[in-house]
Symmetry: C2
Subunit: 308 residues, 2 copies
Amino acid sequence: MTDLVPLLAGAVAGERRALARLLTAIEGGADGVRELIPSLFAASRGAHLVGITGPPGSGKSTLVNALATVWRRRGRRVGILAVDPSSPFTGGAIMGDRIRMMEHAGDLDVFVRSMASRGELGGLAGTTWIAAAVLDAAGYDPVVVETVGAGQSEVEIARLAETTVVVEVPEMGDEVQAIKAGLLEVADVIVVNKGDRPGAELAARQLRAMLSSVGGRITRQPPAILTTTALDGAGVDALADAIDAHRAAARAPDQAMQRARNQLRRAAAEIGVRAATAHPEWEELVEAVAERRVDPVTAAERLVGLRS
Amino acid sequence: MTDLVPLLAGAVAGERRALARLLTAIEGGADGVRELIPSLFAASRGAHLVGITGPPGSGKSTLVNALATVWRRRGRRVGILAVDPSSPFTGGAIMGDRIRMMEHAGDLDVFVRSMASRGELGGLAGTTWIAAAVLDAAGYDPVVVETVGAGQSEVEIARLAETTVVVEVPEMGDEVQAIKAGLLEVADVIVVNKGDRPGAELAARQLRAMLSSVGGRITRQPPAILTTTALDGAGVDALADAIDAHRAAARAPDQAMQRARNQLRRAAAEIGVRAATAHPEWEELVEAVAERRVDPVTAAERLVGLRS
């Protein structure tokens, strides 16, 4: 068993190798991760936690790269966790670091890590957020969590990030329009990327119209809507401004309470699963459910320790 | 409180109104849903549970519609749950039944219901699967769960459905290619839809090549790869054949055990969340986490009742 405490101390002291090893241990679900959490929590430097998401092909990675350039110019140290579509069988991230962030490869103040999204309890299960806390403790700020998705994973991000950026592309069909409408309610900042394509301004106007039609249902500040062209950097400075400006709003007490609720729900779900799978009757009850001798809910209650 | 037992009896007896009311109660999280589960489980008629998923714009709904036509011709009664991108604030499904399945509107042996995917514990949280069990008890077979997504929601389907169909479209970028590679490992049947477009046969060949490259990592039967054109019905008979043929493989003991494990994990997660949110100290600990006086994992352990 790797002792994680010295790795955390190393990461906090700025050692990239310790940081990388700690993230590997966390991603692999090493023993000792649970015990590390209070120290990790205590080591937080209060980094701004930013989620960036959007449908496949919206150019999120290029945009995150361009944002990192802007933030570096502003003297920020940027941590990036790219949650990749993962293989549920091998558990590994598919895209990997190889195609990411080549531009910042020599810059020690940009740290990029690809993480595999695990299927067990939703796309951004605990490990990603523990990894984000590690980057915070290591002095990166902002810490960006980038995910691909169309629906749930965006909602997950919004529930746990302080500022959620949703990246859209101009041209899209009806189904995507419906998804967009859902995202309007979780986005703090909306970016229409590939602004050089015909239709970008139209798309931004449509989003503003949608937004005003759902306005009454949104209880917080309406999202900013911006247009960028990640490839040449147009609009990216304004996007960094909008993200930075949202930090204060995200830390208002009601927003912090809402985030805490979501963090607690997610942690409680993971505790339930751990309790069930560690129970001595786990395999026995799996078999009983597989053979339809008991329903899954009754069996799970017994495993978690309720109605025992 | 609506008494759900008579509604279940009515649904089993073929009353559509009782069925619709029961599904509404389940979707709304009515009191009594938990108590209904053992009866529901006992009322199962063993319907084939089929998950159909794919990226936005892949034509899943049209394809499900075309499949329903084929199954009806074969004398099957078809139940369809369309899990729509939902509004996390209003909780409602966005697309609704309005644009779905107009073709089968007068057919009492096709039952279609849109469900909102809830964000709390992942896209296909318990309610969808309870609703699928209701359609099974009401005599529909197959019961199809259709979702949109690109990543997690597909994995979720695969974990709970007996047969998972992944719908692809020919033209797509790198990021989507990576997602596809991940899906190859969860799909039982892969459909390249919009087969009339240039590139459909090429896409099917690429998928077969990808599949042979990951073949060693897949422990079960490799997925069938088919081409369809949902709009004119080409290939849809063969797709229905492939789905029907997979039923026996899906019910082999090892597959049933794997599904049971996933059902139990999901149920355990939901039990954890319910235990936490019902705890008298819930709000107090939400506040403590929001004010960073305690880390979320330690707080959640206290709420769920471990390390108390």
